[in-house]
């Protein structure tokens, strides 16, 4: 489970705010969360280049805002929230640049998947990725956080600012749609 130890995070944030070796402390935070955040972003934006851009933006934002980070908040969910928002902003920018509709965005994401190295539609894991791309944006993120990150609904509720009930319903719908896609494809 990718949940950070709360005490460690509180200590790291406290050290960062005290201006003692900020870069060193920040490096520890980056090392701790970079890989988990990278894969979460990669599943949304698909390509490594896009994921790299988004990940850098996430940590730059975190650096700028960490000084004002609330003590009662959790670093883990806060970073995930920035990552999800930055990923969606990135997709939105791409959509605006190309002026394409939602259906075409879905198609475009599917094309990106197909262009990935080692893509094989016959393999279940690629088929699952194709199915995920058919989901609406919110359901896609909920499914990724739950299925791949095993995030609790309570944590997800903080990340997405949505009620636990709505998230459970969203996950249920996502799984059903994926099942339908897998069976009919």
């Amino acid at each position: 489970m990718p949940e950070g130890h709360p005490n460690d995070d509180i200590e790291l944030v406290s050290l960062f705010k005290s201006n003692q070796d900020r870069e060193k402390v920040f490096t520890l935070i980056v090392k701790k969360y970079q890989e988990k955040l990278y894969w979460q972003i990669r599943r949304i934006v698909i390509t490594h280049e896009d994921a790299d851009d988004v990940l850098q933006n996430v940590f730059i934002k975190a650096w700028n805002a960490l000084q004002n980070f609330r003590e009662d908040a959790r670093l883990y969910t806060w970073l995930y929230r920035i990552a999800v928002n930055e990923s969606l902003s990135h997709l939105e920018q791409q959509k605006r640049k190309s002026s394409i509709s939602f259906d075409l965005v879905s198609e475009s994401m599917e094309n990106k998947l197909i262009a990935e190295k080692g893509f094989d539609e016959q393999k279940a894991m690629w088929k699952l990725q194709l199915a995920i791309q058919q989901l609406p944006e919110k359901q896609r993120i909920v499914f990724n956080l739950r299925y791949f990150e095993a995030m609790t609904y309570e944590d997800m509720s903080q990340v997405l600012e949505t009620s636990v009930g709505a998230l459970k319903a969203s996950y249920h719908h996502a799984v059903k749609k994926i099942e339908e896609f897998i069976i009919n494809r």
Binding site: T27, Q56, E116, K176, I183
Partner: protein, 206 residues
Amino acid sequence: MPKSKYIQDELLDISQTVAELTDETPFNTPQPNYFEHFPKRILERIQDIEEDPSLDFLGNLDKEMPFKVPTGYFNQFKPVIPNENIKSGKVIPFRRVLRYAIAASLVGALTVWGFMSDNKNTTDSYSLVNMEAGIESISLDAYDSYLNEDAVSGIPDLPSEESDMQSTLLVEINKDVIKEILQEIPENDISSYLNQDGSDDIEIMD
């Protein structure tokens, strides 16, 4: 990496098919040492941005505003608190007004149509065809009597023979004549007439 048990149990409740899928990510991993070098790269970029803030394009976009605010605007700004006594006007959506207008028009149209059709029925009952049929069914005697009645009723009432006599008596009989008549009647007869009580009248009446 196997799925967590609680995730797997939840999936089994929703879909056996999806529960059987792997949770492996098929994407190729980034170049070797990507994660090792990433913290250094990000710190270098942060350092560059701090030395030259214009490099933080997205960050600047969030903060910079192209609009100018007049000097001291916010110091002088006083919020206008609405008076509670003044009832704010209710905003009625145009669609709702349009709906009521259409409904009223329909009701009006139906009412006019109903009124007209009712009048039409009345007119039909007095149509020429009906009148002609009615006239044919009346006998000539009835027609004559109707015309005579109508002619008589159109002239002021003439005095009848009986009423004529009464009026003549009332005019011609005066006191002297009455005295002469009374003198001719014996006094006994008069007194007996006057002494008669109402019972006799009743008997006569019966």
